[in-house]
C-alpha cells in the first residue's frame, strides 16, 4: 500500500516537472520567434530607407550643385549600411547614415527652391516616417531581446536554456554620431 502511494506521488511529480519543462521550452521558443520577427520588421524598414536615399540624392543634385561633399557622404554611408551584416555593425552603420542625412537636410534649408519641390517634400516625409518606424521597430525588438535574455538567465529556466542552446541576443542601439560626443563648452 505504502509503496503504491509513493510510486503514485513520484509519477505525479514527474508529470508536473515534464509539464513545466514543456511550458518553459515553448515559452522560450515563442520569445525567440517574436524576437526574430521583430528583427525582420526592422530589416524591412531599414531596406525601405536605403531604397529612398538614391531618389533623394538625385532630387537634391538638381538644385544644390555645390553640395557634392555632403551628397557623397550620404551615398557612402548608405552603401556601408547596405553591406553591414551583424547586429552591431548594422547599428553603427545606421547611426552614421542618420548623421549624414541630418547634415543633408540642414544643407537643404539654404535652397528654398529645393524645399518647395514636391518630390523633395514627399521624400522628406517618407524618410522621416521611416526613421520613426525604425525607432519603434527597434524599441519593440529591444524589449523582446530584454525579455528573452532575462528568461534564459533566471533560475530555473536557465538550465533549460543551456541544454537546448538558447543564446543571449544583442540589443540594437543606434546612436547618431553627434549624439555620442560629449558637449563641448566654449567660452
Amino acid at each position: 500500500m505504502g509503496i503504491g502511494i509513493i510510486a503514485l506521488v513520484l509519477v505525479g511529480l514527474i508529470v508536473v516537472i515534464l509539464a513545466w519543462v514543456a511550458g518553459a521550452y515553448n515559452g522560450l521558443i515563442r520569445l525567440r520567434n517574436q524576437l526574430e520577427n521583430a528583427w525582420a520588421q526592422i530589416d524591412v524598414q531599414l531596406k525601405r530607407r536605403h531604397d529612398l536615399i538614391p531618389n533623394l540624392v538625385e532630387t537634391v543634385k538638381g538644385y544644390a550643385t555645390h553640395e557634392r561633399e555632403t551628397l557623397e557622404k550620404v551615398i557612402q554611408a548608405r552603401n556601408m549600411a547596405v553591406s553591414a551584416t551583424s547586429v552591431g555593425d548594422k547599428a553603427q552603420a545606421e547611426g552614421v547614415l542618420t548623421g549624414a542625412l541630418k547634415s543633408l537636410f540642414a544643407v537643404a534649408e539654404a535652397y528654398p527652391d529645393l524645399k518647395a519641390n514636391s518630390e523633395f517634400m514627399r521624400l522628406q516625409e517618407e524618410l522621416t516616417s521611416t526613421e520613426n518606424k525604425v525607432a519603434f521597430a527597434r524599441q519593440f525588438y529591444n524589449d523582446s531581446v530584454m525579455t528573452y535574455n532575462t528568461h534564459i538567465e533566471v533560475f530555473p529556466t536557465n538550465l533549460l536554456a543551456t541544454t537546448f542552446n538558447f543564446g543571449r541576443r544583442d540589443f540594437f542601439e543606434v546612436k547618431a554620431e553627434d549624439e555620442r560626443e560629449a558637449p563641448q563648452v566654449k567660452f
Binding site: 517574436q34 524598414q45 516616417s129 518606424k133 519603434f136 519593440f140 524589449d143 523582446s144 530584454m146 525579455t147
Partner: protein
C-alpha cells in the same frame, strides 16, 4: 510584454467563468423551479440561447456599427500621414499585421477599434480627431486602440456581452414561466414525501434570487471587465509610445470637446476611447459608477500623468497610488523594468480641418478634377453629367468615368473657353528680355535672341503672334 497580457487574460477568464457559472446556475435552478428534475433541460436551454447569440453577434455586430456610422475605408494615398502613424504603432506594439483604417466625417473627436480575428481588425477615427490633436496625441490614441487589439479586448468584450445577453434572456424566461406556469407540485409531492417540501422551498427561493439578481450581477461583472480593459489599453498605449503625456493630453482634449458624436448609441458606446455619450455633457464623465463602461476620464489622465516611466510597471505603480489595488499584478511584472519617457515631438496636427474633410470626401467617392486655372473641384459620387463648368474661369471640363484617371490638365484646354481672353498677339516693346501672361495664366518669356513670328504657350499650347 506578452506575459502581462497573458496574466490579464487569465484574470479576465476568471471573470468570464463567473458569468458562465451564473448563466448555468440560472438555467439549472430555473429548470428545477418549473418542473421536477428539469434542471438539465434548463442547462440545455441556457447553452442554446448562448450559442444562438454568439452566432448572431459574430456574424453581424461589426457591419452594423460600421454602416450606421458611415465609415469609409482609407487607402494609403488618401492620408499617408495617418497611415504612417498607424504603421508606427503596429511596429511598436508588435501586432504583426496592419489593421484596416476607416474614417468618419464627424467633428467630434473619437476613435474605436473592432475586430473579431486579428487579421480582420480595423481602427476607425473621426476627422475631428485628425485635426484637433497633434501628432503625439494622435499617436497616443492610436496606440491605445492598438493595445485593445493586441490584448484581444474586442473578442473578449464581445464574449462578455453575449454572456450578459444570454443571462438576461434566460432569467427573463424563467421569471415569466414562473409567473404564468407554476410548478407541477402535486406530482412531486406524492413521490418525495414531507422532506421534499422543504427542499422545494429552498430551491424556489434560490432560483428566484438568481433569476432576479443574476442579470444585475452579470452586468456589474461586464462593466468591471470593460473598465479594467480600458486601463490596460491606456497602459499599453503608454508603453508603445513611451510618451504617456501624449495619450493624457489627447484624453483631455477629447473630453473637453463637448461635441456630441452623432451616431453613437448606448449599445456601441463601450467601443470608443472616451464614452461618447458623456463626453458631450458640460460636466464631463466624472461618475465612477459601477455601471459605466469607461473609467472616469479624469482618473485615466491622472494616472497617466503620475507615471514616472513609460512601461507597464510604471503604469501599475501610478494606478496603485491613484486607485489602490492592482491592475496587472507584481507576479507578471517581474521581468519588466521601467522605461524612460521620450521627449515630445513638437509636431502639429497631421491634417488641417480642410484637408481632413477632403480626405473624408475623397474616401467617400468624390472625384477631384483639376481645371486649367488651378482650381480643384470635388465632384460628388452621384453626378451624372459628363462635364462640369469651372466656377472660377468658366471653362468646361470633361469628367472621366469612374475607374479611369482624369486626363492631365494640358489636354483639357482643347475646349475653347467661353469668355473672351486676352488677344493672341503680342507687340514687342524692345529688344531685351520680355515676359507676358498667356490667356491660360502662365507666363511666356521672350529672349533678346527671339525673332520668330509666333510662340507657343507651354501650358495651353496656344500660338501667339509676336511682332
Amino acid at each position: 510584454m506578452w506575459e502581462q497580457i497573458q496574466a490579464n487574460k487569465r484574470r479576465s477568464a476568471i471573470l468570464i467563468t463567473g458569468m458562465a457559472i451564473i448563466l448555468l446556475l440560472i438555467g439549472f435552478t430555473g429548470g428545477e423551479l418549473l418542473a421536477p428534475n428539469a434542471g438539465a433541460f434548463g442547462l440545455l436551454l441556457a447553452l442554446i440561447i448562448w450559442g444562438g447569440m454568439m452566432l448572431a453577434y459574430f456574424t453581424s455586430a461589426e457591419s452594423i456599427l460600421m454602416s450606421s456610422a458611415n465609415a469609409r475605408e482609407l487607402k494609403k494615398e488618401d492620408s499617408p500621414e495617418l497611415f504612417n502613424v498607424v504603421d508606427e504603432m503596429r511596429l511598436a506594439s508588435g501586432l504583426g499585421f496592419m489593421p484596416r483604417i476607416f474614417l468618419i466625417d464627424d467633428p467630434a473627436p473619437n476613435a474605436f477599434a473592432v475586430g473579431r480575428k486579428p487579421e480582420t481588425s480595423s481602427i476607425t477615427v473621426t476627422t475631428g480627431l485628425m485635426y484637433r490633436l497633434n501628432r503625439d496625441e494622435l499617436q497616443g490614441v492610436i496606440a491605445h486602440e492598438m493595445g485593445h487589439l493586441k490584448n484581444r479586448d474586442v473578442q473578449f468584450m464581445t464574449l462578455a456581452a453575449v454572456m450578459l445577453g444570454s443571462i438576461v434572456i434566460l432569467s427573463e424566461i424563467v421569471r415569466r414561466s414562473l409567473w404564468y406556469g407554476g410548478r407541477g407540485r402535486s406530482r412531486s409531492d406524492s413521490r418525495d414525501g414531507k422532506d421534499g417540501g422543504q427542499l422545494q422551498i429552498i430551491i424556489l427561493v434560490v432560483g428566484l434570487l438568481f433569476a432576479i439578481l443574476g442579470p444585475i450581477m452579470a452586468q456589474l461583472l461586464y462593466f468591471a471587465c470593460s473598465r479594467k480593459r480600458e486601463y490596460l489599453a491606456d497602459a499599453s498605449g503608454a508603453q508603445f509610445t513611451r510618451y504617456p503625456e501624449g495619450l493624457a493630453s489627447a484624453l483631455e482634449k477629447i473630453s473637453q470637446a463637448h461635441v456630441p458624436l452623432s451616431f453613437a448609441s448606448k449599445a456601441t458606446a463601450p467601443m470608443f476611447i472616451v464614452n461618447p455619450l458623456s463626453a458631450a455633457e458640460a460636466d464631463g464623465d466624472e461618475s465612477d459608477s459601477v455601471f459605466s463602461s469607461h473609467p472616469p476620464t479624469s482618473q485615466r489622465i491622472k494616472i497617466l500623468r503620475a507615471m514616472t516611466g513609460a512601461s507597464f510597471t510604471d503604469y501599475e505603480a501610478a494606478y496603485r497610488k491613484a486607485k489602490g489595488g492592482s491592475l496587472i499584478g507584481t507576479q507578471s511584472l517581474q521581468s519588466a523594468p521601467t522605461e524612460a519617457i521620450r521627449a515630445p515631438s513638437n509636431e502639429g496636427p497631421i491634417q488641417s480641418r480642410q484637408d481632413a474633410h477632403d480626405v473624408a470626401r475623397r474616401a467617400s467617392g468624390y472625384m477631384r478634377v483639376k481645371c486649367n486655372c488651378g482650381l480643384e473641384i470635388s465632384v460628388p459620387e452621384g453626378y451624372e453629367q459628363d462635364s462640369i463648368r469651372c466656377p472660377r474661369c468658366s471653362s468646361v471640363i470633361p469628367i472621366p468615368s469612374v475607374g479611369t484617371t482624369p486626363p492631365p490638365p494640358s489636354t483639357v484646354s482643347a475646349v475653347p473657353p467661353v469668355i473672351p481672353l486676352s488677344p493672341l498677339q503680342y507687340h514687342r516693346t524692345g529688344t531685351g528680355w520680355e515676359s507676358f501672361r498667356c490667356g491660360c495664366g502662365s507666363t511666356v518669356q521672350l529672349s533678346p535672341a527671339f525673332d520668330a513670328p509666333q510662340i507657343t504657350c507651354n501650358k495651353c499650347g496656344r500660338t501667339i503672334q509676336v511682332d
